[in-house]
Structures are given as structure tokens and as C-alpha cells.
């Protein structure tokens, strides 16, 4: 990341302000049907063009039939982004020709002529992740506030597969309309990001948010996509499209900053345009000019009435909404007395947080369990992560075959049976490796801690009777007790609780 840091430092020196805005597209994959017809929202298992009907193919005479649940899902997203929701929403047609659009227009929402979109004027705060920057972690703990311009509900186009990557070399391209008409929520931010890192953290944060809301499965390819606009030094806005993954988002921004800064350095104007991210060559390439593209001839969709949400709608959606990460974090801190740091790590990934809650069902000891998850489990996941074993936009909990019950049992062993950490770790590793329950492991391996005091006293007496000089030494030298403890540990292979043993040694010496 050295060169990337250089770019940013450079930016500061030159005094060029960096403004980044995002357009996030999120498929509502947890809907059963598409936005305007009864075809399946899950198009991913169908043969090409099988998951289609006259409506989503735009056959003559068909009319859009808006999906009620899509409106509700989109509203949940709006509320999570603290957007206002109007009492009425409406739809617009965005007219442009493209082979992946069955009607050669997209039914969407548009706010230039009236307030039509499901959400507007929102904002969301997030805390920088201390892992992202090593040296100035204090700075990155600051809360960043991103304003949300609007949230709108629209239809996804179909998908084109090209014979070759270079369009000029193509003899043919294939169109699959299975995706056409799938519900898409577009979230447009103000240009409030000032670094590519902030963008990355934000994107991780909102993917997590989508997961909490239960509206989309971000692990599905293409379910969450992102366009970026970048302007340097108050210059013209350049939009970057066609970015396949969040990792590429960050790279494309770095590239674009360098490109625009180079232009500025040579006194060349930055053109307001749309550029495509070429993933193979890692560069942005100019697309059509902005003027031509903006001739979208928007007008109100005549086939969909204005939808009255009503005044009670927002409160109804709010009560039906699942717990959001920020709410869950608050609960962990207040009810479970978990530290903010640990709570944050837990809620940062819904599946880990759910894992935690499920573990609590087996053994209600939030602090011990949270420690096991954060200190032991996540370390293992991160190791695997670094080996590049996970993909897409999510973290890989599935790569470890651990059940919440296993973690709960570990916490129980440590707490109730006073198992020491080293042994506990050994058992945990073995448990993960074999899938065997830790409680069973401890029986079979017979390494259960010696916690009954009589056994320990017996060992002490054995030691003292074979080395009686220790009794005398102990009266003059306080370190003798530690020496005796060492002998006990050796004898029991470290299976005794040192605190208990120390007390028993003292008692034994006094008794004599």
C-alpha cells in the first residue's frame, strides 16, 4: 500500500481536495419475485432466458405489476440510512437504447420534476476500522458522516456476455434476460468521501447492514455493485462504472486520482465523463460522452399509479425491521457488559454476531464467549483470509467448521472447570480439526484439570515427604512456595489451577 499512501500524502501536499461519491446498487435477493412480474428474483439457477415472462421481456401490451414487498424492503434500506420517506412515491421511465433492456427504457425513480423516490436526505455514520491503518489508529477511529442524496427502487437490466473482452473483436454477444426486472435499490451518496480507504470501510459496513436487514445476500455475485464518482481539486466529476468487486472499487479510485492529478499537473482540463474500469489492465477507459448519455428523456411512468404509502407506513416498517448493527452493539454493551471494542467486532459481521447469539443459547456467558470468538475464532479466520481463501464481498465464517455449541462449551470449560488457557486452546484446535465436542475431548484425552483440592493436597504431601528440607527453607525464603508450585506443575503436567495450588501449598506448610 506504499504507493497508495504516497498518492494521498501527495494530495495533501498539493492541497488538492478529493471528493468521492458512490452509487450503490443492491439487488433485493430475498424477494421471491421480480419488481414487476411473477418471475423469480433468484435468477441464478435458471438456464439462459428461462426465468422470463411477457412482462419482464417487455412483450407488446404487457404492464408492470409493482411488487408490494419490494417497496417495503426498499423502505427498510431507507430507514437504515436515516432517509426521509415521502407519503407518496412514483416511478419514471429512463429512456435509452441498450440490448440488455427489454423495453429500451428502465423503470426507475427520478427526483428532478417532483419528489418521487422512496428515500431522500439521509445520512449514515461509520467508525474507521483501526485495522485499516497501522500508524495513526486514533485518526481512523473518528466517526465519518456520509450524506445520502436519495434511495430509489428500479429494475435491473439483463446480462450481456461478449465473445471477447474487446468489443471490436466480437462476432457475437449473448443476451440473457433472466436478471431483467429484478428489484434493485440504488443508493446515491453525496461526494462526502475523502479517501479510497473510507470508501472501502463504508462499503464493508453497508454490506453488513444489508445482511442485517435481510434484504439481500451480499455473497451472491453481482448482488451489490458500486459506481464511483471522483473529483480532484474541485474539478469536474468523473464517473467510474463497470466495477466488478469492492476490491476493484478501491483500486479504480486510486487509478482515477492519479490520472486526474496527472492531467491537472499538466494543465489539462479533466473532462466530466463516464469511464469504465478495465479490470484486466487496471485502468479506467473513457466511455460515451456525458452529454449524450444524459439525454434520458425522463417522464412519469404512465402504467404505475402514484403509490400512497400513508402516514403510518414508516412506523409500521420500523417496527417490523430486524435489529440493526448499531442497535445490536448498544445491547451488547449495555446488557452483556461487553467492551465497545469487542462489541463492534462482533456486530461488524452479521454472521459472526449471529454466531455469538447462538452460542449464548448453549451457555449464557457473554463476556467469555465473546472473548473466544474475537480472540480465538476471528484470528483463525483472518489467517485463512490472508491466505486468500475467501471471496466476494463477505468474510468467510464458513471456511471454519465450528459450531456455536463448540465455542459455548469452550467458554463453559474455562469458566466452570477452571481449565487454563493453554490447554483450552489445545482442545479448541483439536475440536475444530475433528469436529468433536470439547466436553467429549476432555474426557477422552483425560486432561481434565485437577480441580478437586484433595488430589492437589495429595501431590503436595508427596513432594514434601520426598524433599522435607523444603519445609525449613520455606520459613526463611518466600520463593520456596513458587519452587514447590513448579514441582507440582511438572508432576501434573500443568493441570492444576496455580491459584488454588498456591493456597493449598501455604495451608499445607502451615499445617505441618
Amino acid at each position: 500500500m506504499d504507493s497508495e499512501d504516497m498518492i494521498l500524502n501527495d494530495r495533501n501536499k498539493a492541497g488538492l481536495e478529493l471528493k468521492i461519491g458512490l452509487e450503490i446498487h443492491c439487488q433485493l435477493t430475498f424477494l421471491h419475485t421480480k419488481l414487476f412480474c411473477g418471475c423469480l428474483s433468484n435468477y441464478r439457477n435458471s438456464s439462459p432466458n428461462d426465468n422470463t415472462c411477457p412482462i419482464c421481456l417487455g412483450l407488446p401490451g404487457t404492464l408492470p405489476l409493482l411488487n408490494k414487498r419490494a417497496v417495503e424492503f426498499a423502505s427498510m434500506i431507507c430507514l437504515a440510512f436515516n432517509c426521509k420517506i415521502p407519503e407518496k412515491i412514483s416511478f419514471y421511465r429512463k429512456n435509452y437504447f441498450y440490448p440488455d433492456l427489454p423495453k429500451n427504457y428502465q423503470t426507475t425513480q427520478y427526483n428532478s420534476y417532483e419528489l418521487s423516490s422512496i428515500g431522500y436526505e439521509g445520512s449514515i455514520e461509520f467508525v474507521g476500522d483501526s485495522k485499516s491503518k497501522t500508524n495513526d489508529s486514533k485518526n481512523s477511529e473518528e466517526r465519518t458522516k456520509i450524506r445520502i442524496t436519495r434511495v430509489q427502487l428500479e429494475e435491473d437490466p439483463g446480462k450481456i456476455t461478449y465473445e471477447e473482452d474487446k468489443s471490436a473483436a466480437n462476432n457475437y454477444s449473448l443476451i440473457d434476460y433472466n436478471r431483467a426486472g429484478v428489484s434493485l435499490v440504488e443508493i446515491v451518496t453525496e461526494p462526502d468521501f475523502s479517501s479510497p480507504i473510507a470508501v472501502r470501510i463504508f462499503l464493508n459496513e453497508i454490506v453488513n447492514l444489508f445482511e442485517y436487514l435481510g434484504v439481500t445476500d451480499p455473497s451472491l455475485e453481482g448482488s451489490v455493485r458500486c459506481d464511483v464518482n471522483v473529483s480532484v481539486g474541485g474539478g469536474k466529476k468523473v464517473e467510474i462504472k463497470n466495477i466488478s468487486s469492492f476490491k476493484e472499487v478501491e483500486k479504480s479510485i486510486y487509478y482515477e486520482i492519479t490520472r486526474q492529478k496527472t492531467l491537472i499537473m499538466h494543465n489539462i482540463d479533466v473532462k466530466p465523463e463516464t469511464r469504465h474500469w478495465d479490470e484486466k489492465r487496471k485502468v479506467t477507459v473513457a466511455a460515451r460522452s456525458k452529454e449524450e448519455e444524459e439525454e434520458y428523456r425522463y417522464f412519469p411512468e404512465p402504467d404505475i399509479p402514484r403509490i400512497i404509502l400513508g402516514s403510518k407506513f414508516v412506523s409500521r416498517v420500523r417496527t417490523s425491521m430486524p435489529e440493526l448493527p448499531i442497535e445490536r452493539m448498544k445491547r451488547y454493551i449495555e446488557v452483556y457488559k461487553i467492551t465497545e471494542h469487542t462489541a463492534k467486532i462482533l456486530v461488524n459481521d452479521k454472521r459472526i454476531s449471529d454466531f455469538f447469539e447462538e452460542s449464548l443459547g448453549y451457555h449464557k456467558s457473554p463476556i467469555e464467549i465473546s472473548n473466544w470468538i474475537v480472540n480465538e475464532l476471528l484470528t483463525k479466520i483472518n489467517e485463512k483470509d490472508r491466505q486468500g481463501l475467501t471471496d466476494h464481498n463477505t468474510k468467510g465464517l464458513d471456511i471454519l467448521t465450528v459450531s456455536p455449541k463448540q465455542v459455548a462449551e469452550m467458554a463453559e470449560l474455562v469458566e466452570i472447570k477452571s481449565l487454563n488457557r493453554t490447554t483450552a486452546r489445545e482442545i479448541f484446535d483439536k475440536s475444530i480439526e475433528t469436529g468433536t465436542s470439547p466436553l467429549k475431548l476432555i474426557e477422552t484425552l483425560e486432561i481434565e484439570n485437577i480441580s478437586d483440592e484433595k488430589s492437589i493436597v495429595k501431590v503436595i504431601h508427596e513432594i514434601l515427604s520426598s524433599q522435607p528440607q523444603l519445609i525449613e527453607q520455606s520459613k526463611n525464603n518466600p520463593n520456596t512456595i513458587n519452587y514447590i508450585l513448579g514441582l507440582i506443575m511438572k508432576e501434573t503436567k500443568g493441570r492444576v489451577n496455580p491459584q488454588i495450588a498456591l493456597r493449598l501449598i501455604k495451608e499445607s506448610l502451615e499445617d505441618i
Binding site: P60, L63, K103, N104, F299, P302, I304
Partner: protein
């Protein structure tokens, strides 16, 4: 009654005969098919036929009747369908070369409803391409000819729907009315045609020209045939979010009962005055007839009609330009392959198959919606539209129905107006008002001009007051039976 002349009778009479097993549905359909074969080569009202299926269907209806099973409102009655309304398995060309090979995989809701009432789809009817025209000259299948004089236009855009009914080929048809497309040909051919209230008939399956203006509606030779078809097709449809759940059963009341309602009639005298003299004379005669019934009559006016034409054509072309974007011959259309093309040039070449009038309207619509012009054209047109609606609201506080001519002029000769857009569009001035306001409107035969051309009278009522239009039609039909005005063909 000679069996062969069965096609002359009103549908409700024949349907009763079929139900009473005086004739079979199959016999009737065969006679109708024979009539179409004998007559239509002179009229050109059909684009495609559905004869074989119709015969099969008629046998099924006969079987039902023999078995004593109940049959519907339209038992055994052939209905012609305008070629922009989808019928499963039939070609659906919209009279366009663009859709020459397109077969619909589904039924429009109105078609399903007709079949539920045991009506029989007999074929698809000629029209102006995509409904864009007032004369039915802009068809890829040649112009529809007026049954009263084949040198003259039948009116449009549902020219086939009106001409086929007027020339005694079929008793009933469906048309669609975006700016007068049912009423204009009804007037020019001397049939009765109604444009229902916006949202009262499903548009699912109607190929959109201008979605916010148009409705499907029935055409017939007598109000007694029109009402059962209107009852069959109206009502809420879960497949069209713009339909309204407000179904009422329309009746053909007897004259005395109608007169008891003491309808107050507003006459748009200024618009009568601005029409061709024979049209004006005829409409005044109609006013007189209503007056003779003892109806209360008053002159009134609509002040915004001056802006209506611009408002209508801005909205219609804007919506059309977007609706017609989907025709790129990639997924359906006509024989042709995109092989060897870059997609933009393929689209442009495919779309060059639209007719000239369609192209003109697409260009106009694209222009009025383009960046910077939205406020000047579309938003302004909508303002005019809502103002016109308010003006009608006020008028209907005072009057039950309004009377005006359907068309300001008699049918023009084929070719006479087709190259002059404004002259052509001006023919729509009286019909577009109802579409802009979303209110129901009916064109009722009024008689013939000196040279024997039909003249229609138009009646408007407030939204969902179709019953008043039907009542007015019953009154006028009872003065002189419409069957006296049947073209000799």
C-alpha cells in the same frame, strides 16, 4: 327470416335464437365467415382471420347449450378484435411492418373476458399503425375503406373495427381510443362506439400508444348490442394497476324510465358552430330530438379547447416515443437477424420499418422529452390537461351530459389529408377532450349528409357515468332506429 340473412340481425337477437336452439352457433359463425369472405375484399377491415378456431369454439358453445349448461352474455357471438389487442396464438401486427411476424403468447384481459362470456374471436381488424392516425390510411396492410363509399376513409385509428361492423360483416368489435380512435370511425361509418372512463377497462394486452390517454371500448350497430359487450369487458383487473375497482352493471333502460331521471343536457354550441355546416345541422337536429323528449337543454362552452390539441399531441407523442422504443427486432418482430451488425446500427435499421407517421410521432415525442424541454412541453401539457379536467368537473356539476359533434367534418377522401399533419390532427379536436379528462364518451349515429355520408353525435359524461351515455343513446336510437342507416354493399 331466411337463415342466410342472419348477419343483418343484432347480436342480442341472434344470441337469444342460439340459446333457444332456433339456430346453432356453428350455423351463425359459418354465415358470418361467408359474409366476411364476400364483403371484406372491398373494405379491407381484417388483417387476419381466426375462422377455424371460431368454428371449433362455436361447436363447444352449441354442445354447452344442448347439455343445458349456462352460457354467457355473448353466447355464440363473433367479435372482431383491433389488431393492437393481444389474442393468444394470433398475429398481432398493429398494422405495422415492425410486428409483421409477431404472435402474442397471451390473451389481453378483455379477450379472456369475452371468451368467458362465450363470445368468439373471429379475427384481427385493420387500423392505423400502432393507433396513430384518424383515417386508417396509415396501415401497412392498406387503408380501410368506408363502407358508405370506398373512395373515402373509414376514420381511425379503429377503422377496421367500425367498417367491419357497419358493413354487416360482424355485429360487434373492440377498438381502442387514444384521442378518438373508436368514436371517429364510429361517426364516419355510422356505428355506435364508446370510449369508457379511464381505468374502467383493463389495458393489459393492449399494445400501448399513449398509456395515460387510451382505453379499449366496444363498437356495435345498436346500443342493445353494445351494452352486453361493455359489461363483459369492464371492471378491475389485477393485471393492470391503472384499473379502478368500481364495477357497475350497465342497463338498457326503457325510454320512460330514462325520462324520469330528468337529465340536464349541456350543448357545446360553439363547437357545433365551428363544424362543417352539414355536421352542425345534423347535431342541432339531435338536440331538437332530445328536447322533444322533454329533456332540459342549455348552451354552454368549454374555454380551453384551444390548448387541447397541443396538450394532447405533446402527451401522446411523448408516451409513444417511449412505448415504441422496445421495437428493435431483437426479441420479436419480423424475419431478420442481427448477425453481422453492431447493435446501434441494427436497431436503427430495424426501426426504419416503422411507417412515416409513426416515425414523425416518435421524433416529436423524443424532442419534447429531451433535456431542457420537459417544462416547456410535457409539464405544460399536463397543466392544460388538469385544467381541462377541472373545467369538465364544473360542467358536470351543472349538467348530466354534454353534447357536441364527434367529428368537425365529414369523412375525407383517401389520400386527401394524409400528408398534412396539422390538418389531419385537427380532425381530433372534439374527441381528444374526453381522453385528456379521462371521462367516458360515446359516438352515436346521427344520420346521413346530403351526399350520403354518416354524421355522428358525441355525448360526454362524468367519470364512471357510462350509464348516462347509454341512456342518451337509447333515447336517440328510439327516435329513428339506427338500422335505417346501413350502407348498401
Amino acid at each position: 327470416m331466411i337463415l342466410k340473412r342472419l348477419y343483418e340481425l343484432p347480436a342480442f337477437v341472434v344470441s337469444r335464437k342460439i340459446k333457444e336452439q332456433e339456430v346453432t352457433a356453428e350455423e351463425y359463425i359459418s354465415i358470418i365467415i361467408e359474409r366476411i369472405k364476400n364483403v371484406d375484399f372491398r373494405i379491407n377491415s381484417f388483417i387476419s382471420h381466426n375462422f377455424e378456431n371460431a368454428i371449433t369454439k362455436s361447436r363447444a358453445i352449441d354442445k354447452k347449450i344442448k347439455e343445458g349448461t349456462n352460457t354467457g352474455l355473448l353466447a355464440g357471438i363473433p367479435v372482431g378484435i383491433k389488431d393492437n389487442i393481444s389474442v393468444q396464438g394470433l398475429k398481432n401486427t398493429c398494422a405495422s411492418r415492425m410486428l409483421a411476424e409477431y404472435t402474442s403468447p397471451y390473451n389481453a384481459t378483455v379477450v379472456s373476458k369475452i371468451e368467458e362470456q362465450d363470445g368468439i374471436v373471429i379475427g384481427k381488424l385493420n387500423m392505423d399503425e400502432f393507433g396513430m392516425g384518424t383515417t386508417s390510411e396509415y396501415s401497412a396492410f392498406g387503408p380501410v375503406r368506408n363502407p358508405w363509399n370506398p373512395e373515402y376513409v373509414a376514420g381511425g385509428s379503429s377503422g377496421g373495427s367500425a367498417a367491419a361492423v357497419a358493413s354487416l360483416q360482424i355485429p360487434l368489435s373492440l377498438g381502442s381510443d387514444t384521442g378518438g380512435s373508436i368514436r371517429c370511425p364510429s361517426s364516419f361509418c355510422s356505428v355506435i362506439g364508446i370510449k369508457p372512463t379511464y381505468g374502467s377497462v383493463s389495458r393489459n394486452g393492449l399494445i400501448s400508444y399513449s398509456n395515460s390517454l387510451e382505453q379499449i371500448g366496444p363498437l356495435a350497430r345498436t346500443i342493445y348490442d353494445l351494452v352486453p359487450l361493455l359489461n363483459s369487458i369492464s371492471g378491475f383487473d389485477p393485471k393492470d394497476n391503472t384499473t379502478i375497482n368500481k364495477k357497475s352493471e350497465y342497463q338498457t333502460n326503457n325510454v320512460d324510465n330514462i325520462l324520469k331521471k330528468r337529465y340536464k343536457i349541456g350543448v357545446l354550441e360553439e363547437l357545433i358552430d365551428n363544424s362543417e355546416s352539414e355536421v352542425a345541422k345534423n347535431n342541432r337536429k339531435k338536440v331538437k330530438e332530445l328536447e322533444n323528449y322533454g329533456c332540459e337543454i342549455e348552451d354552454t362552452r368549454i374555454s380551453l379547447s384551444h390548448y387541447a390539441l397541443a396538450s394532447y399531441y405533446v402527451i401522446a407523442t411523448a408516451e409513444a416515443s417511449s412505448n415504441l422504443s422496445r421495437y428493435d427486432n431483437l426479441r420479436y418482430g419480423y424475419e431478420g437477424s442481427p448477425e453481422g451488425y453492431e447493435w446501434t446500427s441494427y436497431f436503427a435499421e430495424s426501426r426504419s420499418r416503422f411507417g412515416d407517421e409513426v416515425k414523425l410521432r416518435i421524433l416529436l415525442g423524443s424532442y419534447v422529452l429531451s433535456a431542457g424541454y420537459f417544462g416547456k412541453y410535457y409539464a405544460k401539457a399536463q397543466k392544460v390537461r388538469s385544467k381541462i379536467k377541472k373545467e369538465f368537473d364544473n360542467l358536470f356539476n351543472k349538467y348530466d351530459i354534454l353534447l357536441l359533434p364527434t367529428m368537425p367534418a365529414l369523412p375525407p377522401k383517401i389520400g386527401e389529408k394524409s400528408s398534412q399533419p396539422i390538418e389531419h390532427y385537427n380532425l381530433d379536436v372534439y374527441t381528444i377532450l374526453a381522453n385528456l379528462a379521462g371521462i367516458p364518451a360515446i359516438s352515436i349515429p346521427g344520420g346521413l349528409s346530403e351526399k350520403g355520408f354518416p354524421i355522428g353525435v358525441q355525448i360526454l359524461a362524468d367519470g364512471f357515468n357510462e350509464q348516462k351515455l347509454i341512456d342518451a343513446a337509447v333515447l336517440l336510437e328510439n327516435v329513428e332506429g339506427f338500422e335505417t342507416w346501413i350502407p348498401k354493399i
